[in-house]
């Protein structure tokens, strides 16, 4: 399989007042197309930062992130926003659905940036909601859904534009065991059945076991790779 994502000599530091806080140092990583990668590590190890850099929502201090041939670390803000909208689907720990919008409207949000007309958008949204098993709850607001259902709506929103990669930051972190299992099964299905490349940050070994590849981060460095 070809390498979809290449991370080269990646470093990231944050500044707090006049203090530089290194978060990632000299990371090199390759993710194959169709992979399901779990990034593990303790709190503060830099796994979410690495995920953000790969997804193009943060900029590296040094190094490159090349996704499907595009060096996203060189893109400007507006180009990066456009790139994200068509290449990356996001799943967050706390779902981050818009409270005033229904499940249908939340899933439709990324499609508003496309040229699809209303009927085409409807078709895409219904398909995405069917994949996550929530076609019957499309007119419910987030507060009318359980945590697991909210996360499934978030996954539907992430896949509705048929992105190249899915990034998930602790997608089961706020869920009970049963709901977490459902979400992990759904992600596995997206990877195997729909051939989505998934990068998932988790500190839960049980969740990481569902991935094809596991990487460990500690103090900003990749220390171990498990297959």
């Amino acid at each position: 399989m070809s390498e979809l994502i290449q991370v080269k000599n990646l470093s990231k530091s944050y500044w707090r007042d006049s203090f530089e806080i290194p978060v990632l140092s000299n990371i090199n990583l390759a993710v194959n197309e169709g992979d399901f990668l779990a990034l593990m590590g303790p709190s503060g190890s830099g796994k979410t930062t690495l995920l953000n850099l790969i997804a193009g929502i943060d900029k590296p201090t040094q190094g490159d992130v090349i996704v499907n041939g595009t060096d996203i670390s060189k893109l400007g803000e507006s180009s990066l926003a456009k790139w994200r909208s068509s290449n990356v689907g996001f799943v967050f720990q706390f779902y981050n659905l818009i409270k005033v919008l229904t499940a249908y409207e939340n899933v439709e949000l990324p499609l508003l940036l496309t040229k699809l007309n209303k009927d085409e958008r409807k078709k895409h949204v219904e398909t995405a909601l069917s994949i996550v098993g929530l076609a019957d709850r499309m007119h419910h607001y987030p507060k009318q859904l359980s945590g697991g259902q909210e996360q499934r709506v978030a996954i539907a929103r992430a896949i509705v534009t048929d992105p190249l990669i899915l990034v998930a930051d602790e997608p089961t972190g706020d869920l009970d065991r049963h709901s977490a299992e459902e979400i992990l099964t759904l992600m596995e299905r997206l990877n195997t059945e729909f051939k989505k490349t998934i990068i998932m940050v988790t500190h839960d070994p049980h969740a990481a076991d569902r991935a094809k590849t596991k990487h460990h981060l500690d103090k900003g460095e990749l220390i171990l790779e498990q297959v």
Binding site: T49, N52, I57, F90, V100, L101, Y104, E108, L113
Partner: protein
């Protein structure tokens, strides 16, 4: 689902806060509209001034009378088309609260100099030929139910005694700014009685109103008139009607200017109220804005969302305020004595100022939240705990 729908949904996310803000804006707009209406009503006399009309009064103050004998001399000044004269009569109609302007004037010339008082030819003739005839403005005719042929009895104060006048004409204003709340009767009628009862006050008039051929000659004609009476016992001051009216209200100008300033301070207060609401809303939605950016929404989308929400709240509050201003101004007009403000209505300029203020407030209140939303990095937005 459209962005506009999201703007409306966001605007009413905190219903109580939004409704309180809308009511706050509405009340402020009502206060603005009412104050501006009072200010414009105060200046309506100035606005109604004619460019081709001069006023000649006593040089010291218009409360001092001028001799009737000046009339012929003024008439002979080059550029003068027509001259009339008026006296403030005062008096009480039934109750002292029934206030409206009452003038004793030269019946032969008054309607030539004040053509904006529209009467039929018959009314004009009837007014001129009957010594105790009077004409009244349509507004006070409506208020007190005056009809042609009615007798209006005034209790004199400046001119003591009981005075009966017969209504021979009800004039309609030719222009929007024309005062339709005045009562005018024959100076001769008053003067004859003065000759008998107070001879020392006979042949006194209050001021001359002069119609000139060319408004551009106003300064020249004024100085020529005043030159006629230099070093006399009653020197004159001639000025344009506008200047005369402005001088008349100058005594109250500090209050009016104060009201004017307050009306604009209110606009500033509305801006702070809405600005505060928008800042709170933007702060609460820091994570959401990060989500929007993550999904690929651009800065201009966020600007549209925030500015749209601010404009929606501002427009709803402003619209409600304007809608309520009309009945409230009408209510005030009904309770204030007729004649205090000859014209008390919301002027187009007030409407334009209010609508402009509503739009500016909507835009200005969104500046800080927009700046905050745009400058917050996505990762910082997700870390934000509101």
């Amino acid at each position: 689902m459209k962005i506009l729908k999201l703007v409306f949904k966001n605007a009413f996310r905190h219903k109580l806060r939004t409704f309180l803000t809308i009511f706050g804006i509405a009340i402020a707009v009502i206060a603005f509209g009412l104050l501006r209406t009072v200010v414009t009503a105060w200046y309506v006399g100035v606005e109604g001034s004619q460019a081709d009309r001069l006023v000649t009064r006593h040089a010291v103050s218009f409360i001092f009378p001028l001799p009737y004998s000046y009339l012929d001399k003024i008439n002979n000044v080059e550029g003068v088309k027509e001259v009339t004269f008026l006296n403030w009569f005062g008096g009480i109609y039934i109750d002292k609260n029934n206030f409206f302007a009452r003038f004793a004037a030269d019946a032969e010339t008054i309607l030539e100099v004040y053509p904006e008082w529209s009467l039929t030819e018959k009314e004009k003739e009837d007014f001129k030929k009957e010594r105790n005839a009077c004409i009244v403005g349509i507004e006070i005719a409506k208020t007190y139910g005056f009809k042609i042929g009615d007798v209006i009895t005034l209790e004199g104060d400046i001119y003591p005694g009981r005075w009966d006048f017969v209504v021979r004409g009800i004039y309609e204003p030719k222009y929007e700014t024309t005062d339709a709340t005045a009562m005018v009767f024959h100076w001769d009628f008053i003067n004859e009685r003065m000759k008998e009862e107070s001879p020392e006050r006979a042949n006194d008039i209050g001021w001359f109103a002069i119609r000139i051929d060319n408004p551009d000659d106003a300064a020249k004609v004024s100085s020529q008139v005043d030159a006629l009476f230099e070093n006399s016992t009653a020197e004159t001051k001639t000025e344009t009607e506008r200047a005369f009216q402005q001088g008349f209200i100058a005594a109250s100008s500090a209050i009016i200017e104060g009201m004017n300033a307050i009306s604009f301070i209110i606009v500033g207060i509305i801006m702070l109220v809405l600005g505060n609401t928008m800042i709170m809303a933007a702060r609460e939605r820091t994570r959401e804005y990060a989500v929007f950016k993550t999904l690929g929404f651009s800065g201009s989308h966020l600007v549209g969302l925030i500015m749209g929400e601010s404009l929606v709240i501002s427009a709803l509050g402003g619209g409600l305020g304007l809608a309520l201003t009309y009945p409230i101004v009408a209510f005030f007009e009904s309770v204030i004595p007729k004649g205090w403000f000859p014209i008390f209505q919301i002027e187009p300029i007030t409407l334009i100022l209010a609508i402009s203020a509503i739009i500016i407030i909507g835009l200005a209140s969104s500046i800080f939240p927009i700046q905050r939303a745009l400058s917050t990095k996505i990762v910082d937005g997700f870390r934000f705990v509101g």
